[in-house]
């Protein structure tokens, strides 16, 4: 697993309080990990802080799964 993927999964586990093994690449924050809309905003802000990037609103809307987050950050960090 890449360093980015590891960090992303760690943030997701911490923020959503879910088991690490549930945070698979294809896991959807809302459908699989029990996040609500406010959780997803918090996650995006945590990613921004951790990776020192800015995630615009239209990009943030498309980040629905763990893999979406990893891909966006890999391309922009």
């Amino acid at each position: 697993m890449s360093e980015i993927a590891e960090k992303v999964k760690k943030i997701v586990v911490e923020h959503l309080g879910v088991d690490e093994d549930k945070v698979t690449d294809t896991a959807s924050f809302i459908d699989d990990l029990g996040a609500d809309s406010l959780d997803t905003v918090e996650l995006v802000m945590a990613f921004e802080e951790e990776f020192g990037i800015e995630i615009p609103d239209d990009a943030a809307e498309k980040i629905q799964t763990v893999k979406d987050a990893i891909d966006f950050i890999s391309a922009n960090a």
Partner: protein, 245 residues
Amino acid sequence: MFDLTGKKALVTGATGGIGEAIAAALHAAGAEVAISGTRAEKLEELKAKLGDRVHVIPANLSDRASVDALAASAQEAMGGVDILVNNAGITRDGLAMRMKDDDWDSVMQVNLESAFRLSKAMLRPMMKARFGRIINITSVVGVTGNPGQCNYAASKAGLIGMSKSLAQEVASRGITVNCVAPGFIVTPMTDALNDDQKKAITDGIPAGTLGTPEDIAAAVLYLSSLEAGYVTGQTLHVNGGMAMI
């Protein structure tokens, strides 16, 4: 009841009568308090009166950079902010036909925009902490209107709408957002009125007297408390019955 030991509060407009009473009430309940205002020496006087657990952070809320700096300084000084009281307010009264753009802009900036910016800055740590109290000091005229105060009344009504929206956004995180709406309160401004003017005002108040800053502070203390955790998006009117809404 209403023990705020260990809680950290930021009160804006703490140099005014109401703000000073709010800061004193939260402090007396055990909170660590950051007091802000434009006049540093007045803030230092208040700090001297209150004793320890007090931080003085002067700020000019008509300036965005100063508002953002205040949010950062308060969080740094206390290691967080659990209770935010947006009390600062100004008036630039005048009939609508004569109102200058600047009178409108400055009232909106200080009374409404600074409250939003400060709230926004506190949300993230409050959400992480799963606890927060935001209390916006509005006014009876924000609900009833008042001739000569289009700008002021609009800013105060704006606070109520903002509070209700924000309350819905963050309720699930243990953060409450409420307003306190004072009626006529004893301040240096009302002290200057003559007896006839005072009578005209009190005739419209069922309680028969003006309110005191402490009446407002008590309402803020309640809404700041753990006990008020299930109260959110509300406006608590403290006005001796002059408007029952």
